[in-house]
């Protein structure tokens, strides 16, 4: 099994602070972490390898320090990793990202399964997985909440979760899946894994290394552009309702009546 897992480094939501007066992001002290769903993608990839044999390669597009994310993945048991990094990738939207990731995955050689997280918490787009599947010509199942290997190991039987319930889906290899947090519990890095990860040589691939067309990467390859941004105003929030429990409940019921909700 040649398994690929796509991981992204994102700002840790808990360390992101906003200066509400100036409406800017306070960048000091913002920690980078692996996107939470991508841990589940890593675990899914590792468990598939543990069952069927083969190797897992972690791929990330990002700045050179995204190597940290790869090392963390390797400490969990991922076999290889590569960082796709080039100034020319900057400003990539999901269309350019899927192109770039697909070029790198092609360069890795044949692939039987690709795992992505459901979405990255910095953008919440959930577009990279399905888009990458199209680029690689793979069938895609999104929002996987349960996964088992089909008899004979020819493919996977998965639960695709949706608003009302779920679909049970069968899909043969090769395949791309995007996974939910409920799929599994990511394993903790082992001491041996940490040692190996620390010493591992993690290649950095440039746009040229993956044979990327210039007009398909970075800003040039991104049809969507930010036109403007603004800080949403929360008008006069935070009214505390005082008094005894009865008085508080009465006050709340009045407010909800005023708002036409009850």
């Amino acid at each position: 099994m040649d398994i690929v897992v796509c991981i992204k480094q994102v700002p840790d939501a808990a360390s992101v602070k906003w200066d509400h007066k100036t409406g800017t992001l306070i960048r000091d002290g913002v920690q980078s972490v692996i996107n939470p769903f991508d841990y589940n993608a890593i675990e899914a990839a590792l468990s598939l390898r543990d069952e069927l044999g083969g190797k897992v390669t972690a791929v990330t597009m990002g700045p050179p320090q995204a190597q940290d994310a790869i090392r963390e993945a390797m400490s969990m048991g991922v076999d290889h990793g590569v960082v796709i990094s080039d100034r020319a990738f900057a400003g990539a939207d999901t269309l350019a990202t899927t192109y770039t990731l697909s070029r790198a995955i092609r360069k890795l050689g044949s692939v039987d399964a690709v795992f992505c997280g459901k979405q990255a918490i910095d953008g919440d787009t959930a577009q990279v997985g399905p888009g990458l599947a199209v680029r690689l010509g793979l069938p895609c199942v999104t929002c996987v909440g349960e996964m088992e290997i089909m008899e004979g190991g020819a493919g996977l039987r998965v639960k695709r979760m949706c608003e009302q319930g779920y679909d049970v889906v069968e899909v043969g290899f090769p395949v791309l899946l995007t996974v939910l947090a409920s799929l599994n519990t990511p394993r903790v890095p082992s001491l041996k894994g940490k040692m190996r990860a620390r010493k591992a040589d993690i290649p950095l691939w440039s746009a040229e290394d993956i044979g990327a067309q210039k007009d398909k990467i970075g800003l040039a390859g991104s049809p969507t552009k930010v036109f403007s941004t603004h800080i949403p105003k929360f008008e006069a929030r935070r009214e505390m309702l005082p008094g005894t429990a009865e008085e508080q409940v009465d006050a709340l019921v009045d407010k909800l009546k005023e708002a036409g909700i009850i």
Partner: protein, 401 residues
Amino acid sequence: MVVVDLEKCVGCGECEDVCTFGAISIVDEKAVVDPDTCTLCGACEEACPEGAIEIEGEDISPAGGMDLDAWRGVWVVAEFRHDRFAPVTFELLGKGRQLADDLETDLTAVLMGSGVGEYAESLIERGADKVLVVDSPRLEQFLDDVYARILADMAQKEKPEIILAGATAMGRAFIPQVATILETGLTADCTGLEIAPEGRDLLQTRPAFGGNLMATIICDSTRPQMATVRPHVLKAMEPDASRQGEVIKIDPHEDLLKSNIKVLESVMEEAEGPMLTEAEVVITAGRGVENPKNIALIEKLAHCMEGGVGATRAVTDAEWLPGRCQIGQTGVTVSPKLYMGFGVSGAIQHLVGMQGSEIIVAVNKDPDAPVFDVATYGIVGDVKDILPLLVRRICQERGND
């Protein structure tokens, strides 16, 4: 269809390797495509190092050089599953109507499924001028690749300037595939759509950084402009049975109907009340409800208010409520008229999933709980005292016990 330029083809076999459908073979050092098994996925075109493969009928060049004026009309992708339209379909038609009027063009609804033809009229009542119906037993189940290829194929032929779909599990699964096939921009999870004051570009507004920032996105060099839109933020039109429109049946080419995925069954879980992402009222349990018995009160309150039941991760981890109730970064995003949180601390990972709610009520015994920073109305108190009182009062008001 796939066309191989025999002059350029060197028979390297890259295309054969990437074709997951086994539709390409190398014969006499040239690639030969079997049109019966080919699904036009485009992987070979991408993979060919010589640029010898082209998908005919796909005359879309990426960024730059596209004739934007060849694209006209607004499309809304209707979502019909389990015998009903997702409410966001009507919301999109309401907005689509306004955008189409601003652009002085038509609003078209695209309806895909099995046995769906008879529902086309209701899309006209909700604002569509035209309905494109793709009705096939093959579409009984949702197959991402098939839905994506059919929609992309129609878009390549009809050239709409805008395509809108719901940011639902289904929309978010296959619309990104469509945008990738069409090599155009897609903005996820929009909460606002307007036509730019000058020109015909669509201004697409979406929350970023967990709702701390709103970003307006444009896609000004390619068409169509595509967006998925969060349920519940746009207004649907009242149905108007006197509206006239045209229903057009489309028979997709058989090749488009092939899929590598098989849906064995589609299970609807019995959840009482409305779906969480669609509910106008969401009553949320946090760890501070303290024991599973109080969950019954949360459910009762939700029931009285015809709302949905939400939970923090602490609560779903403890299995007091099922995982699908989880609101937040690793759960669902809700933006109801009213969100009420009981014993919710207000961790950022939870807040990002509910900050967009119109009215936020928080009940917590800790006056410094961060949830109060986003609350419209805050009650410092014990859930054990407040919740039963509130349930009694509200169920009384509603005459609903």
